[in-house]
Amino acid sequence: MWPARNRWGVSQRNALRHELDRLFDSFVERDPFAPVATTRPFPALNIWEDNNRLMVEAEVPGLSLEALEILVQGNELTIKGQRRPAVTESEVYHRRERGTGEFTRFVTLPYEIESEGVEATLKDGVLTIVLPQAEKVRARKIQVKSS
């Protein structure tokens, strides 16, 4: 759950430092309070269920659908992609928090997916994938005949 993990272990004094980032005056110095990045899978995912289908949402700002590859096999979902730097690497970065590079996120889903029915949309940097449950694993109502 996200609220519990969004802590950078910084004191209040340092927290204020994050709010008032200096943009121009101090561009030579490196931020001594820059938080140590924790290694987490990218992209972060929210998954919920909606009427026999799973909804997967991820925030992937700056990516186009062409830069993303979505693979579904059985109950496994793979999201692959690459985020390129906005400018050439040789530019002078005073701050660099936006990650770049290749990523692969692999998720095991609670049930098999009808891969033909998978739909992905990307809008304003938010990816939404609709994954319908495979017909063969849907619960069926069993008719009970009286003998």
Binding site: W2, N6, E19, A37, L63, A86, E91, G99, F103, V126
Partner: protein, 132 residues
Amino acid sequence: MSDTTNIEKRTATTTTAEQTRSGCTFVPAVDIIEQDDELLLLADVPGARAEDIHIDYERGQLRLEARVDERQEDDTRYLLREYGVGDFVRVFQVGEGIDPARIQAAVKDGVLTVTLQKHPEAMPKKIDVRNG
């Protein structure tokens, strides 16, 4: 160094502005890049469109705010919830070298680009050396 395995959505630990909306506020990840005549500020604001973004410059402070509404119902039962959705806010102290009259901004695919032009006197100059 920077790579996609180190990305984490940060909640704001302090707020410099009054909280006018409910929910969590997030600190957008930014890149600040210096070029000869301008600074480029890139901020990840997924879910925000141009009309959701408010940029104010006052007394040397540049404040970025991107309003992002919850995309799902409050009672959504998540099987996995690795991030929250809410407004992005971040404030920057802008130095003397920036011309506040010429700050421009655009947003595309959830990335906000703010261009801050330098004052001409703050630009690097090449000094010609003459033979005496």
